[in-house]
């Protein structure tokens, strides 16, 4: 019965290692954005006459970014849920809601994760997402359309996929990335204003204090690189987080298959979810990377190619379904019960 387990556990461990690298890369990039400015000022002005003690710019930005991350970690999940108009499922009223709750409890056992808080979004388009900072305090939201469109096994597979994200700490990483993008955009706008103000007032003085010669050229090159980094920062971070998000979709699919031992159900569910061409109206662009399928109904996910790949929140659906079907075929073959039509 052990279903691709060894491979999957190795993949999960590799995933966590990669998460750490991604966070480290982000911190290095932030350090350059912050302390790079200090370095340039220090190089340009030398010891004398620096209007800020060395390091202050970087420290201020670090404090700001940490504050932002802490804030988003505390309130991020609620904001996301609020923005979709989700309602909390406390006491199931209908049979459909009861089924959702039961399936969520079943998968919590299979995945070995604590039971998340469940939410329902009133939207006819089938979709689902998970959010939350810790596995112990996570949230799973589904649209009412999902509950209507899928049968029990398919719903189970979709919930399993969401639990995969929770177990992999994808939701945690995504919260961090969202905070990082927010902090950079805010600081860039603030810096833009400060620089414009600075050039208006202190431009003349700076030239007088400059050390001139070769040192000056290094400073100017550094300054240009630094400014370009700031301008491109949100784009770089966005591209990185999208890349992370796509990799994680495949792994979450595989984990759903591990929990349910039934990859074909997820393949069916994905076909149904993708087959409905409506965009999920209640889910905004900012939440897109959390969902099981791109809620904006963009055609990007169906295209392949480098450019499309770089900006899609999800891997091409056809690829995901093909991988699941391959897994299903393998499992059936091993157990010697291939369906007649295969």
């Amino acid at each position: 019965m052990s279903f691709e387990e060894v491979n999957l556990f190795a993949q999960q461990a590799a995933n966590r290692r990669k998460s750490r690298w991604i966070v480290a890369a982000f911190i290095a990039f932030f350090a350059w954005l912050g302390f790079g400015g200090d370095l340039i000022i220090w190089l340009a002005r030398g010891e004398q006459g620096a209007f800020l003690p060395p390091g202050v710019l970087g420290i201020l930005m670090t404090v700001f970014a940490l504050g932002m991350v802490a804030y988003v970690r505390r309130t991020g999940a609620e904001k996301v849920l609020w923005s979709t108009g989700a309602r909390r499922l406390d006491e199931p009223q209908t049979e459909q809601e009861q089924r959702f709750r039961n399936v969520a409890e079943e998968m919590a056992i299979a995945a070995g994760v604590p039971m998340p808080t469940l939410w329902i979004i009133n939207d006819p388009d089938p979709n689902a997402f998970a959010t939350g900072n810790e596995p112990a305090k996570s949230h799973v939201a589904v649209t009412s359309g999902l509950l209507t469109a899928l049968d029990r096994d398919e719903l189970q597979a979709v919930i399993g996929h969401e639990y995969g994200h929770i177990k992999n700490l994808d939701t945690k990483l995504m919260t961090f990335l969202a905070a990082a993008v927010g902090a950079v955009v805010l600081m860039r706008d603030g810096m833009g204003r400060a620089i414009r103000y600075g050039f208006g007032h202190g431009g003349g003085r700076r030239r007088k204090g400059g050390s001139g010669g070769g040192g000056g050229q290094v400073v100017i090159i550094l300054l240009v690189i630094w400014l370009i980094s700031w301008i491109l920062a949100p784009l770089v971070i966005q591209a990185l987080s999208l890349w992370v998000s796509r990799k994680r979709e495949y792994l979450a699919d595989a984990m759903s298959a591990q929990f349910t031992r039934n990859p074909l159900s997820l393949a069916n569910a994905l076909e149904k979810i993708h087959g409905s061409h409506l965009p999920t109206a209640s889910i905004k662009a900012g939440v897109a990377h959390l969902c099981i399928d791109d809620p904006l109904g963009r055609k990007l996910d169906d295209r392949q190619g480098r450019w499309a790949d770089a900006w899609a929140t999800h891997p091409p659906m056809a690829m995901r379904i093909a991988r699941l079907k391959a897994m299903g075929y393998q499992a059936l073959k091993r157990e010697g019960r291939l369906p007649a039509e295969a």
């Binding site: 019965m1 060894v6 049979e95 039961n102 399936v103 409890e105 079943e106 299979a110 031992r261």
Partner: protein
């Protein structure tokens, strides 16, 4: 220099030993915990059955045997679980398998009589029963996965050197042969063989 290398190797060995010992203890506890998960779900199923019987009793007079089989299987299963811990996997597995079989036949009967399905909250109970059955099988899956990891570690070199110190013993797997239809399914006691 040589002394230094020997000392470093010794220190590394001691650290590895401590790590391996702790890992085995952690796996042992995980296995016991996974077993408790099954236990919780089995109790849930036992508690659900009187409710179910009560609801359909009036309408199902003609299927006395099926009902009695369920009640009897439940009592047997409850006795087996009362003594249940990872040392008694086989007994619990056998008794619960009989109960699963009886319940499957019972649900088939309910399916066959649309009138019955419409009585009271049979539909709801059916959903509850399906969910409980799933929970049991997922808990079993989690237990088997955890126990397999535990057993594999115990057999692998150099982990097997630590086994005695950690008082680790192979955990019995709850193997099931699609036993729903069989009264007494064959319970495979082999462990660690399938991976």
């Amino acid at each position: 220099m040589v002394t230094f290398i020997v000392l470093a190797a010794l220190a590394a060995a001691v650290f590895w030993f401590i790590g391996a010992y702790n890992k085995l203890i952690a796996l042992k506890n995980q296995t016991v915990n996974a077993w408790k998960q099954i236990d919780v779900q089995l109790k849930r199923r036992h508690d659900l059955i009187p409710n179910l019987i009560e609801t359909v009793k009036g309408a199902m007079n003609f299927e006395r045997e099926t009902l009695e089989a369920v009640v009897q299987a439940r009592n047997q299963a409850m006795k087996a679980t009362a003594a249940g811990d990872p040392q008694h996997v086989a007994g619990v597995a056998a008794a619960e398998s009989v109960l699963t079989g009886a319940l499957t036949r019972f649900m088939a009967v309910v399916e066959a009589y649309p009138d019955l399905k419409a009585t009271g909250n049979v539909g709801q109970l059916q959903e509850e029963l399906t969910s409980t059955e799933n929970k049991i099988s997922f808990a079993r899956q989690l237990y088997n996965d955890t126990a397999t990891e535990y057993n594999t570690k115990q057999e692998q070199f150099p982990w097997n050197l630590v086994v005695g110190w950690a008082k680790a013993q192979p955990a019995e797997l709850w193997e099931i042969t699609d036993g729903a239809e069989r009264a007494v399914p064959k319970v495979d006691l082999g462990f660690g063989g399938k991976k």
